[in-house]
């Protein structure tokens, strides 16, 4: 009798604990593989690790070396150039396409599919394609010559001053359709009656877009910028496929810098330090965003 009762108690206890048991593996993996690893990486960044990890505290030596490294500053500057152009142009093309597509277009579905398909491709594929198109000898340059523009030269891919802009070209091609999708969803969410009222008041379409529709898309701008800057900071594969970081290290981004110092040049500590810098950059952008998202979730 009493064993039966305690068995039932155990069963109830198990039932009650079941949800926690089920999420426990994910919880533990998250703690170890995300937060534990971040701490581990942080620790590595405070050591003298080179080819092999060492765990003796060495203070900020790796950060000092990082900040004294010219290549790191090239990477940081490139991120700034690439990031701002990538975000700006993607937003511009994305908004424009979304507005045009929102004019009761006949083949909207097909056009949307075309604009968005690059998003399904790997950055390696995109990089490979654009590397060929922008090929200084046989690519765009040859095509323009054939079309009669004999003076046309296009050698950005091998020009260390201009190569970073080829990364922008390919990146924009891949991601602007996605921004279009975000804004189109936003446009569809706007109440038609506001627009009708403005039209009745005699406002023209450009005016309506400028002073009513675009301001009301502020949250979409917010998400799009967050996502695009996140893509920019993490950009790695596109550069690897398109320029390999070259010529020299002219198109290095923090992500390619980290990879090459941590995994090919045997500078674990410095690689770890540069990864911490990337984490810091992402956190500066994402934490305010997540904070507002989570707050609105709780309210909702």
């Amino acid at each position: 009798m009493s064993t039966q009762k305690s068995q039932r108690q155990w069963g109830d206890y198990l039932q009650a604990a079941l949800p926690k048991i089920v999420v426990a593996p994910t919880f533990i993996t998250t703690l170890i593989f995300i937060y534990g690893f971040i701490l581990w990486n942080a620790w590595l960044s405070f050591t003298k690790s080179r080819l092999l990890p060492k765990y003796d505290w060495a203070g900020l030596i790796q950060y000092e070396r990082l900040f004294a490294n010219e290549r790191w500053w090239v990477a940081a500057q490139n991120l700034l150039i690439f990031g701002s152009l990538f975000i700006g142009i993607c937003l511009l093309i994305g908004i424009l396409l979304a507005i045009l597509l929102d004019q009761r277009i006949r083949a909207e579905g097909a056009l949307r599919t075309i604009y968005l398909y690059p998003m399904a491709l790997s950055f390696i594929v995109t990089g490979t394609a654009w590397k060929w198109i922008l090929n200084p000898g046989l690519g765009l340059e040859r095509l323009m010559h054939e079309w009669g523009f004999e003076q046309f030269t296009f050698n950005w891919l091998v020009d260390s001053e201009m190569a970073i802009y080829t990364v922008v070209i390919a990146g924009v091609w891949q991601s602007s359709g996605f921004v279009m999708a975000l804004f189109l969803a936003g446009l569809r969410g706007i109440d038609d009656s506001i627009i009708k009222a403005a039209q009745v008041d005699g406002a023209g379409l450009p005016r309506i877009y400028r002073s009513i529709i675009i301001p009301s898309l502020r949250p979409v701008f917010f998400s799009a910028i967050i996502i695009l800057s996140h893509i920019a900071i993490k950009s790695f594969d596109l550069v690897m496929a398109l320029t390999g970081g070259g010529p020299g290290y002219a198109t290095d981004l923090p992500a390619t810098f980290m990879y090459s110092f941590a995994f090919t040049r045997g500078q674990l500590g410095m690689g770890a330090a540069s990864a911490m810098m990337m984490l810091g950059a992402v956190a500066a952008i994402v934490v305010p965003y997540l904070y507002s998202e989570l707050r609105s979730t709780r309210r909702g």
Binding site: P19, V22, T30, N41, I114, L121, R142, W173, L182, A272
Partner: protein, 288 residues
Amino acid sequence: MVNQGQSSIFSRLAVYGALSLAALYFLTPLFVMLLTSLKTLEDIRSGSLVSWPEEITFEAWQMAWTSACIGVDCGGLKGYFWNSISMVVPAVVISTMIGAINGYVLTQWRFRGSDVFFALLLIGCFIPFQVVLLPMARTLGFLGLAGSIPGLILVHTVYGLAFTTLFFRNFYIAVPDELVKAARIDGAGFFTIFWRILLPISGPIIVVSVIWQFTQIWNDFLFGVVYSAGDKQPITVALNNLVNTSTGIKRYNVDMAAAIIAALPTLFVYFVAGKYFVRGLTAGSVKG
């Protein structure tokens, strides 16, 4: 009136013109890739990006698949394609299953701390993976999984969980509480409710999660290049090696054929189930 009609026809034309131009911009690279992959090398050297092939040949495709040199191994992409498949399938299935049950707990069986758990997990969507690369490399070595496909499956599963959980959590949160409460009163247990009530309505979100994970993992390069070696590399890494090998003649037609082969699975998924793909993109980025 007439004037207005004319100007509206004109502006319609302008809108369609701009949209077609944009379509051309997005399609041209794919078209150029396809065209180049069907040409011979001489044809490429004498023609231009958009010139029609003198004769259409599938030699480059054949070579990319079976005999192109990737590093020292000249067996084409074939093996790497299968590497990617054997990495993607388990990783997608496992991460989607765990994500589904996590989402179920986080919405229907909330406990003290479950919100904190979700927030901790959500942040995991955003970290730049560079920050876990080194510790993970040590861990995989310690587990004896370095340079192997099971190692990649583990990595992709672990770092995919945040997204799959997010998908299912945002989907199940719309399920009315009464449904699950009534089932609980009827004595249905944890797993019964999941199997009988939640799972049968989960079709769309399972598709979203599978497509998202499939695309992400298939297209991944970072984990692939860091955690795999030799003939165990996924296709994106092999493609990059193939294209950026500096020895021998540059076979642009083979490069393009290889790039299309690497892109085909995700392109196929996109054209078949684009609607779900877009849902994944927006759910993964903007709160659903």
